[in-house]
């Protein structure tokens, strides 16, 4: 009996040591992940020369909030924000609508040529954006859409990934729902709009936040199309700050903080859907 007791005790001592080591490792990982962000915030509140001082100023006291004010008064920071919000809003809404319509059709309506069409959609998932980038740019240049937000909004309405994601969810819904709706006199559009769409709200949210994140963070699109600073998005704006504030890291970092905060808040509010979106992008194989 006594022997068993000591064995048990030994085991739990080893257990505690392992737990402590695990937490130690977790804390190291947390530091590695967070230090760049903490440094970003700290620098954004420094005087210009404190940002490059050796030894470094770890915590600026007093913090220089003026950096943030400067961005709004000296630069069209507010405009960058509004532009981004506008683009994200239209892209998310448009993509949800157009993708869900097509996805419902692919999942539930047995029209002729469905398999071939779906194959084309899936096949294009593999095509790098760089291939379509130049012809799309030239098309928009022809119709005078370069340097407008339309060039960023319109193509983003149509995403093979969105269609694919929502299709999977529509397919998982029971068939009896539509049969009942049909008997009640719904046509396919009212069935889709009133009955099926409300049932895939979680999937719509997943696609919505995934699209929001990608649109908010997009850099190459705005870089190619937008040339007037007043039309820039946040990402393009902060990259532009690096060019004009070459040595003023405090201002560049203040801009970066402002670009990260909204997406961070969105993430904290809808963490589940962000994670699901990523996890889904991993099961499509």
């Amino acid at each position: 009996m006594a022997q068993i007791h000591t064995v048990h005790k030994k085991k739990s001592a080893g257990f505690i040591v392992r737990r402590v080591l695990l937490y130690l490792l977790l804390i190291i990982i947390a530091v590695v992940m967070l230090v760049p962000f903490l440094w970003m915030v700290s620098t954004s509140l420094k005087e210009q020369y404190d940002a490059v001082k050796i030894p470094p100023v770890w915590v600026p006291i007093p913090p220089r909030w003026q950096n943030y004010v400067d961005l709004f008064t000296q630069q069209p920071m507010l405009q960058f924000m509004l532009n981004t919000i506008k683009i994200v809003f239209f892209v998310v809404l448009g993509q949800l609508f157009f993708s869900s319509l097509a996805a419902y059709s692919f999942a539930r309506i047995k029209f002729q040529g469905r398999t071939v069409m779906f194959f084309f959609y899936i096949a294009t998932l593999m095509v790098p954006g760089q291939v379509t980038m130049i012809p799309t740019y030239l098309m928009f240049a022809k119709v005078g859409f370069t340097d407008t937000h339309w060039a960023l909004i319109l193509p983003a309405f149509f995403s093979a990934f969105g269609v694919f994601l929502l299709r999977q969810f529509f397919m998982s819904l029971p068939k009896e729902l539509e049969e009942a709706a049909e008997i009640d006199g719904c046509n396919p559009f009212t069935t889709y709009w009133r009955i099926m769409l409300p049932l895939i709200v979680p999937a719509m949210l997943t696609l919505g936040v995934f699209t929001l994140m990608n649109t908010w963070n997009d850099y190459m699109g705005p870089l190619i199309y937008l040339s007037t600073p007043e039309k820039y998005t946040m990402t393009l704006g902060i990259a532009y700050f690096k060019g004009i504030y070459t040595t003023q890291w405090n201002l560049v970092m203040a801009g970066s903080v402002l670009s990260v905060i909204p997406i961070l808040i969105a993430y904290l509010c809808a963490q589940k859907y962000f994670v699901e979106g990523i996890a889904f992008s991993g099961v499509k194989g």
């Binding site: 695990l22 490792l25 977790l26 990982i29 947390a30 992940m33 967070l34 230090v35 760049p36 962000f37 440094w39 940002a51 490059v52 470094p56 157009f98 319509l101 097509a102 059709s105 692919f106 309506i109 029209f111 069409m117 084309f120 294009t124 593999m126 095509v127 790098p128 954006g129 760089q130 291939v131 379509t132 980038m133 130049i134 012809p135 098309m139 149509f158 093979a160 559009f189 994140m213 963070n217 850099y219 190459m220 190619i224 990402t235 393009l236 902060i238 990259a239 690096k242 890291w249 970092m253 970066s256 990260v260 997406i263 961070l264 993430y267 990523i278 996890a279 992008s281 991993g282 194989g285």
Partner: protein, 297 residues
């Protein structure tokens, strides 16, 4: 009679089916299919927006492979893939295994790893440019305080790509980890319980249960990471502009320069198709080898 009814039903399905697809399909044609074909056509011309558009056959492709800059970009891109994919995938798997347990506070640590994923590559590249600064960068300050010499992270031709790779691995860890975590959910817990009863230790369980069971996930994560790495652009444009001395010039950066700085659209489209071919070949090789691997296990 029955035939007639079924053909009427089929017509009805066709009507609604096409109606639902139509808006999306028009966009798909305009922004996907047509550009893919146009890019191929342009790649056989000397189109430069301003003056010319003559068919020149495969001259662009020949010129690409005779251009040292292109070869360097191609090799740099592959070097970047070699640096980021294996390490990124293995680290993400180890993190996922570590995070796949129910201990107090684990969720908050998972969130920390995920924050770089939701942050734009632009913001991440800007902070890391500052961390990597030769004199005032935090990394060199830390090295110096430990009595070590400064490292020229982004200004040494041999190191610049490695530095960018380190940052990119850091940013992508949470993404890959999340996919691995989803994959680990599918591994039946009984396998681990049985192994525990048989006296297996943690590394044994990892090698003999986890690794084989999430093989498909690993293939998928590697494939996505590889395809992504072949298209690297944002961090290059922000941090180094392809420098120093072309040490970090990638294929994407090269074709961006030719397309949007020199307006050699035909030539840039040829470069884009080489990139496309590379992505295609990589996917095929991975696909075949993953089938072989699945047959073996």
């Amino acid at each position: 009679m029955g035939n007639k009814a079924s053909s009427r039903l089929q017509r009805r399905w066709n009507f609604w089916g096409y109606l639902f697809i139509l808006p999306n399909f028009l966009g798909f044609v305009a922004f996907m299919l047509v550009p893919i074909i146009m890019a191929l056509v342009f790649s056989f011309t000397n189109y430069d927006i301003i003056s010319r558009m003559d068919f020149i056959g495969i001259e662009n492709y020949i010129n690409l492979f005779q251009d040292d800059q292109f070869i360097v970009s191609l090799l740099n891109t592959l070097w970047y893939s070699v640096l980021t994919v294996p390490i990124g995938v293995v680290l993400a798997l180890l993190l996922a295994v570590m995070f796949n347990r129910q201990i107090r506070g684990i969720a908050i640590f998972r969130t920390f790893v995920f924050i770089p994923v939701i942050t734009s590559m632009v913001a991440v590249s800007l902070v890391w440019s500052m961390l990597y600064e030769d004199n005032s960068g935090l990394l060199n300050i830390v090295l110096n305080s430990l009595g070590l010499p400064s490292v020229h992270w982004l200004t040494d031709t041999n190191l610049a790509m490695i530095s960018i790779a380190i940052m990119s691995i850091w940013k992508g860890l949470g993404y890959n980890m999340t996919i691995f975590l989803a994959g680990l959910q599918g591994v039946p817990g009984e396998l681990y319980e049985a192994a525990t009863i048989d006296g297996a230790n943690s590394p044994q369980k990892f090698w003999h249960i986890t690794v084989p069971m999430i093989g498909p996930t690993t293939y998928f994560v590697s494939l996505m990471a590889l395809i992504g790495s072949l298209q690297t652009f944002d961090q290059i444009n922000i941090m180094t502009q392809g420098g120093p001395v072309d040490a970090t010039k990638t294929l994407s950066f090269y074709l961006y320069q030719y397309g949007f700085s020199y307006y050699k659209m035909g030539y840039a489209c040829a470069a884009a198709y080489v990139l496309f071919l590379l992505v295609f070949v990589v996917s095929m090789i991975q696909n075949i080898s993953s089938k072989k691997w699945a047959d073996l296990t």
